[in-house]
Protein backbone atom coordinates (compact mmCIF):
# COMPACT_ATOMS: atom_id res chain seq x y z
CA UNK A 1 0.00 0.00 0.00
CA UNK A 2 1.59 3.28 -1.02
CA UNK A 3 2.32 5.78 1.77
CA UNK A 4 1.77 9.50 1.35
CA UNK A 5 3.68 12.18 3.16
CA UNK A 6 1.90 15.18 4.58
CA UNK A 7 3.58 17.95 2.71
CA UNK A 8 4.09 17.74 -1.01
CA UNK A 9 1.81 14.85 -1.74
CA UNK A 10 4.78 12.76 -3.00
CA UNK A 11 3.84 9.13 -3.31
CA UNK A 12 6.46 6.85 -1.84
CA UNK A 13 7.16 3.68 -3.87
CA UNK A 14 5.35 0.59 -2.78
CA UNK A 15 7.61 -1.76 -0.87
CA UNK A 16 7.24 -5.50 -0.49
CA UNK A 17 6.76 -5.87 3.28
CA UNK A 18 7.65 -9.53 3.07
CA UNK A 19 11.17 -8.70 1.88
CA UNK A 20 11.41 -5.54 3.95
CA UNK A 21 11.40 -7.32 7.33
CA UNK A 22 15.08 -7.32 8.43
CA UNK A 23 15.44 -11.03 9.13
CA UNK A 24 13.76 -12.02 5.86
CA UNK A 25 15.78 -9.45 3.99
CA UNK A 26 18.99 -10.99 5.38
CA UNK A 27 17.80 -14.44 4.37
CA UNK A 28 16.93 -13.36 0.85
CA UNK A 29 20.13 -11.35 0.46
CA UNK A 30 22.20 -14.40 1.39
CA UNK A 31 20.24 -16.72 -0.89
CA UNK A 32 20.46 -14.14 -3.68
CA UNK A 33 24.27 -14.46 -3.83
CA UNK A 34 24.39 -18.27 -3.77
CA UNK A 35 22.86 -21.02 -5.90
CA UNK A 36 21.60 -22.84 -2.83
CA UNK A 37 22.57 -23.16 0.81
CA UNK A 38 21.94 -25.61 3.58
CA UNK A 39 19.53 -24.49 6.29
CA UNK A 40 22.41 -24.67 8.78
CA UNK A 41 24.57 -22.35 6.66
CA UNK A 42 21.79 -19.77 6.41
CA UNK A 43 21.20 -20.04 10.15
CA UNK A 44 24.89 -19.45 10.89
CA UNK A 45 25.18 -16.51 8.50
CA UNK A 46 21.96 -14.76 9.59
CA UNK A 47 22.41 -15.53 13.32
CA UNK A 48 18.78 -16.59 13.62
CA UNK A 49 17.61 -19.41 15.83
CA UNK A 50 16.42 -22.55 14.00
CA UNK A 51 12.80 -21.87 14.93
CA UNK A 52 12.96 -18.23 13.90
CA UNK A 53 14.61 -19.05 10.60
CA UNK A 54 12.13 -21.82 9.95
CA UNK A 55 9.24 -19.42 10.52
CA UNK A 56 10.59 -16.80 8.13
CA UNK A 57 11.50 -19.36 5.50
CA UNK A 58 7.98 -20.78 5.65
CA UNK A 59 6.55 -17.34 4.94
CA UNK A 60 8.92 -16.85 2.04
CA UNK A 61 8.07 -20.27 0.70
CA UNK A 62 4.35 -19.52 0.93
CA UNK A 63 4.93 -16.40 -1.14
CA UNK A 64 6.81 -18.44 -3.71
CA UNK A 65 10.12 -16.69 -3.06
CA UNK A 66 12.09 -19.58 -1.59
CA UNK A 67 12.31 -23.22 -2.58
CA UNK A 68 12.93 -25.80 0.14
CA UNK A 69 14.53 -29.11 -0.80
CA UNK A 70 14.89 -31.92 1.71
CA UNK A 71 17.32 -34.66 0.85
CA UNK A 72 19.48 -37.26 2.48
CA UNK A 73 23.24 -36.82 2.52
CA UNK A 74 24.40 -40.24 3.60
CA UNK A 75 22.05 -41.14 6.39
CA UNK A 76 21.43 -37.59 7.54
CA UNK A 77 18.46 -35.53 6.35
CA UNK A 78 19.45 -32.09 5.12
CA UNK A 79 17.40 -29.09 4.10
CA UNK A 80 18.57 -26.85 1.29
CA UNK A 81 17.20 -23.40 0.52
CA UNK A 82 17.30 -21.50 -2.72
CA UNK A 83 15.60 -18.44 -4.15
CA UNK A 84 13.06 -19.06 -6.87
CA UNK A 85 13.07 -16.92 -9.96
CA UNK A 86 10.10 -15.07 -8.51
CA UNK A 87 12.06 -14.55 -5.30
CA UNK A 88 15.03 -13.13 -7.21
CA UNK A 89 12.77 -10.76 -9.10
CA UNK A 90 11.05 -9.70 -5.88
CA UNK A 91 14.40 -9.05 -4.23
CA UNK A 92 15.69 -7.03 -7.18
CA UNK A 93 12.44 -5.11 -7.33
CA UNK A 94 12.76 -4.35 -3.61
CA UNK A 95 16.32 -3.09 -4.15
CA UNK A 96 15.24 -0.83 -6.97
CA UNK A 97 12.32 0.58 -5.01
CA UNK A 98 14.50 1.27 -1.99
CA UNK A 99 17.04 2.99 -4.20
CA UNK A 100 14.25 5.08 -5.68
CA UNK A 101 13.00 5.89 -2.22
CA UNK A 102 16.36 7.21 -1.08
CA UNK A 103 17.20 9.09 -4.24
CA UNK A 104 13.84 10.76 -4.86
CA UNK A 105 14.03 14.38 -3.64
CA UNK A 106 11.43 15.33 -1.08
CA UNK A 107 9.23 18.38 -1.61
CA UNK A 108 9.42 19.67 1.93
CA UNK A 109 7.09 22.59 2.66
CA UNK A 110 7.31 24.33 6.02
CA UNK A 111 4.13 25.07 7.90
CA UNK A 112 3.93 28.88 8.46
CA UNK A 113 1.94 28.35 11.69
CA UNK A 114 4.91 26.69 13.39
CA UNK A 115 7.49 29.30 12.53
Amino acid sequence: MPAENNTGGNKLPEIDRLVHEPARYNIMALLYVVTRAEFLFVQNQTHLTPGNLSSHVSKLESAGYVDIQKQFVGKLPKTFLSLTQRGREAFEDYRNRMKELFTTPLNVQTDPDTE
Partner: protein
Protein backbone atom coordinates in the same frame (compact mmCIF):
# COMPACT_ATOMS: atom_id res chain seq x y z
CA UNK B 1 19.83 0.77 1.42
CA UNK B 2 20.74 -2.16 -0.71
CA UNK B 3 23.41 -1.30 -3.25
CA UNK B 4 25.26 -3.58 -5.69
CA UNK B 5 28.32 -3.12 -3.47
CA UNK B 6 26.32 -4.36 -0.47
CA UNK B 7 25.37 -7.50 -2.33
CA UNK B 8 29.01 -8.02 -3.24
CA UNK B 9 30.00 -7.64 0.41
CA UNK B 10 27.36 -10.16 1.48
CA UNK B 11 28.68 -12.67 -1.02
CA UNK B 12 32.28 -12.02 -0.01
CA UNK B 13 31.46 -12.39 3.68
CA UNK B 14 29.63 -15.67 3.07
CA UNK B 15 32.48 -16.95 0.91
CA UNK B 16 35.16 -15.97 3.43
CA UNK B 17 33.22 -17.75 6.16
CA UNK B 18 34.16 -20.99 4.42
CA UNK B 19 37.83 -20.18 5.14
CA UNK B 20 37.25 -19.54 8.84
CA UNK B 21 38.09 -23.15 9.66
CA UNK B 22 41.82 -22.55 9.15
CA UNK B 23 42.22 -25.69 7.05
CA UNK B 24 44.03 -23.93 4.24
CA UNK B 25 46.29 -22.24 6.78
CA UNK B 26 47.11 -25.68 8.18
CA UNK B 27 47.76 -26.85 4.61
CA UNK B 28 50.26 -24.05 3.97
CA UNK B 29 51.93 -24.61 7.33
CA UNK B 30 52.38 -28.30 6.57
CA UNK B 31 53.59 -27.43 3.05
CA UNK B 32 56.33 -25.20 4.50
CA UNK B 33 57.32 -27.95 6.95
CA UNK B 34 57.51 -30.45 4.09
CA UNK B 35 59.79 -28.05 2.21
CA UNK B 36 61.96 -27.81 5.32
CA UNK B 37 62.01 -31.58 5.58
CA UNK B 38 62.88 -32.11 1.91
CA UNK B 39 65.79 -29.71 2.25
CA UNK B 40 67.25 -31.93 4.99
CA UNK B 41 66.87 -35.29 3.24
CA UNK B 42 70.16 -35.21 1.36
CA UNK B 43 72.17 -34.51 4.49
CA UNK B 44 70.52 -37.30 6.50
CA UNK B 45 70.79 -39.85 3.73
CA UNK B 46 67.08 -40.31 3.14
CA UNK B 47 65.93 -40.62 -0.48
CA UNK B 48 64.11 -37.55 -1.69
CA UNK B 49 61.30 -39.79 -2.85
CA UNK B 50 59.99 -39.89 0.72
CA UNK B 51 59.81 -36.14 0.75
CA UNK B 52 57.97 -36.03 -2.54
CA UNK B 53 55.52 -38.70 -1.35
CA UNK B 54 54.72 -36.67 1.73
CA UNK B 55 53.17 -34.06 -0.55
CA UNK B 56 50.27 -36.48 -0.98
CA UNK B 57 48.92 -35.53 2.44
CA UNK B 58 48.50 -31.88 1.44
CA UNK B 59 45.23 -32.10 -0.52
CA UNK B 60 43.87 -34.49 2.10
CA UNK B 61 43.92 -31.74 4.71
CA UNK B 62 41.19 -29.55 3.20
CA UNK B 63 39.34 -32.49 1.63
CA UNK B 64 38.93 -34.50 4.80
CA UNK B 65 38.74 -31.45 7.03
CA UNK B 66 35.88 -29.92 5.06
CA UNK B 67 34.02 -33.21 4.92
CA UNK B 68 34.30 -34.26 8.55
CA UNK B 69 34.85 -31.03 10.47
CA UNK B 70 33.76 -27.86 8.64
CA UNK B 71 30.72 -28.70 6.55
CA UNK B 72 28.88 -30.59 9.32
CA UNK B 73 29.25 -27.47 11.48
CA UNK B 74 28.97 -24.59 9.02
CA UNK B 75 26.57 -26.12 6.55
CA UNK B 76 26.96 -26.68 2.83
CA UNK B 77 26.66 -23.90 0.28
CA UNK B 78 26.92 -23.65 -3.50
CA UNK B 79 28.02 -20.25 -4.68
CA UNK B 80 26.72 -18.60 -7.81
CA UNK B 81 28.00 -18.59 -11.38
CA UNK B 82 30.16 -15.51 -10.77
CA UNK B 83 32.24 -17.33 -8.15
CA UNK B 84 32.44 -20.48 -10.27
CA UNK B 85 33.58 -18.56 -13.34
CA UNK B 86 36.23 -16.80 -11.24
CA UNK B 87 37.59 -20.19 -10.14
CA UNK B 88 37.58 -21.45 -13.72
CA UNK B 89 39.37 -18.33 -14.91
CA UNK B 90 41.92 -18.84 -12.13
CA UNK B 91 42.59 -22.41 -13.33
CA UNK B 92 43.17 -21.14 -16.84
CA UNK B 93 45.54 -18.46 -15.59
CA UNK B 94 47.42 -20.99 -13.43
CA UNK B 95 47.81 -23.28 -16.41
CA UNK B 96 49.14 -20.44 -18.53
CA UNK B 97 51.56 -19.27 -15.82
CA UNK B 98 52.95 -22.80 -15.32
CA UNK B 99 53.29 -23.19 -19.08
CA UNK B 100 55.28 -19.97 -19.27
CA UNK B 101 57.36 -20.64 -16.14
CA UNK B 102 58.52 -24.17 -16.95
CA UNK B 103 60.97 -23.18 -19.73
CA UNK B 104 62.40 -20.45 -17.49
CA UNK B 105 62.93 -22.89 -14.63
CA UNK B 106 64.42 -25.53 -16.89
CA UNK B 107 66.86 -23.00 -18.34
CA UNK B 108 67.78 -21.81 -14.83
CA UNK B 109 68.31 -25.38 -13.73
CA UNK B 110 70.46 -26.21 -16.75
CA UNK B 111 72.62 -23.20 -15.96
CA UNK B 112 73.38 -24.45 -12.43
CA UNK B 113 71.27 -21.74 -10.82
CA UNK B 114 69.96 -24.04 -8.11
CA UNK B 115 73.36 -25.42 -7.20
CA UNK B 116 74.59 -21.89 -6.55
CA UNK B 117 72.06 -21.67 -3.74
CA UNK B 118 73.17 -24.93 -2.17
CA UNK B 119 71.93 -28.10 -3.85
CA UNK B 120 69.58 -29.02 -1.04
CA UNK B 121 67.49 -25.96 -1.85
CA UNK B 122 66.81 -26.92 -5.44
CA UNK B 123 63.33 -28.23 -4.69
CA UNK B 124 62.26 -25.33 -2.47
CA UNK B 125 63.58 -22.87 -5.03
CA UNK B 126 61.68 -24.51 -7.85
CA UNK B 127 58.58 -24.73 -5.71
CA UNK B 128 58.92 -21.11 -4.73
CA UNK B 129 59.39 -19.93 -8.30
CA UNK B 130 56.30 -21.81 -9.45
CA UNK B 131 54.05 -21.69 -6.43
CA UNK B 132 54.56 -18.17 -5.09
CA UNK B 133 53.21 -16.33 -8.17
CA UNK B 134 50.33 -18.79 -8.31
CA UNK B 135 49.53 -18.14 -4.67
CA UNK B 136 49.42 -14.41 -5.37
CA UNK B 137 47.05 -14.97 -8.27
CA UNK B 138 44.91 -17.36 -6.28
CA UNK B 139 44.71 -14.94 -3.36
CA UNK B 140 43.32 -12.32 -5.72
CA UNK B 141 40.85 -14.51 -7.59
CA UNK B 142 39.43 -16.47 -4.66
CA UNK B 143 39.41 -13.54 -2.19
CA UNK B 144 41.69 -15.21 0.35
CA UNK B 145 43.88 -12.38 1.68
CA UNK B 146 46.07 -14.55 3.92
CA UNK B 147 47.39 -16.28 0.81
CA UNK B 148 49.21 -13.05 -0.10
CA UNK B 149 51.16 -13.34 3.14
CA UNK B 150 51.99 -16.99 2.55
CA UNK B 151 53.18 -16.22 -0.98
CA UNK B 152 55.43 -13.44 0.29
CA UNK B 153 56.74 -15.71 3.08
CA UNK B 154 57.59 -18.36 0.49
CA UNK B 155 59.39 -15.83 -1.68
CA UNK B 156 61.31 -14.45 1.30
CA UNK B 157 62.20 -17.90 2.67
CA UNK B 158 64.15 -18.86 -0.42
CA UNK B 159 66.77 -16.08 -0.36
CA UNK B 160 66.75 -16.32 3.42
CA UNK B 161 67.70 -19.98 3.18
CA UNK B 162 70.48 -19.08 0.75
CA UNK B 163 71.66 -16.38 3.15
CA UNK B 164 71.53 -18.75 6.13
CA UNK B 165 73.56 -21.33 4.16
CA UNK B 166 76.61 -19.12 4.62
CA UNK B 167 76.21 -19.17 8.41
CA UNK B 168 74.70 -22.51 9.39
CA UNK B 169 75.06 -24.67 6.26
CA UNK B 170 72.80 -27.54 5.34
CA UNK B 171 70.40 -28.79 6.61
CA UNK B 172 69.87 -26.03 9.15
CA UNK B 173 69.34 -23.27 6.59
CA UNK B 174 66.28 -25.04 5.17
CA UNK B 175 65.03 -26.00 8.61
CA UNK B 176 65.19 -22.42 9.84
CA UNK B 177 64.00 -20.63 6.73
CA UNK B 178 61.09 -22.95 5.94
CA UNK B 179 60.55 -24.73 9.22
CA UNK B 180 59.99 -21.71 11.44
CA UNK B 181 57.43 -20.02 9.18
CA UNK B 182 55.78 -23.39 8.65
CA UNK B 183 55.46 -23.93 12.37
CA UNK B 184 54.05 -20.46 12.93
CA UNK B 185 51.48 -20.85 10.13
CA UNK B 186 50.53 -24.34 11.34
CA UNK B 187 49.96 -23.13 14.90
CA UNK B 188 47.92 -20.20 13.58
CA UNK B 189 45.82 -22.56 11.46
CA UNK B 190 45.24 -24.94 14.36
CA UNK B 191 44.20 -21.98 16.50
CA UNK B 192 41.71 -20.91 13.84
CA UNK B 193 40.38 -24.46 13.68
CA UNK B 194 39.95 -24.60 17.44
CA UNK B 195 38.07 -21.27 17.41
CA UNK B 196 35.93 -22.48 14.51
CA UNK B 197 34.98 -25.66 16.36
CA UNK B 198 34.04 -23.63 19.45
CA UNK B 199 32.06 -21.11 17.38
CA UNK B 200 30.21 -23.71 15.34
CA UNK B 201 29.36 -26.74 17.51
CA UNK B 202 27.89 -29.77 15.83
CA UNK B 203 24.18 -29.07 15.38
CA UNK B 204 21.43 -31.22 16.81
CA UNK B 205 19.46 -33.15 14.18
CA UNK B 206 16.47 -30.84 14.69
CA UNK B 207 18.54 -27.77 13.85
CA UNK B 208 18.83 -28.60 10.17
CA UNK B 209 15.19 -28.62 9.20
CA UNK B 210 12.91 -25.93 8.00
CA UNK B 211 9.23 -25.97 8.87
Amino acid sequence: MITPESIKEIEKRAYRATFDDGLYDILFGVAFLILAWISTLDSIGVPRLYGYLSVIILPLIPLLGKKYISTPRLGAVEFGPRRKSKKLFLLVIIGAVIFLQMPVIMIAGAGGFFEVLGGSLSVPVMVGMIIAPLLLLAAYFIDYPRMYIYAVLLLVSIPHAAFMYEFVGVPFNGLISFGIPGLVILIYGLNLLAKFIRKYPLPTPEANHAG
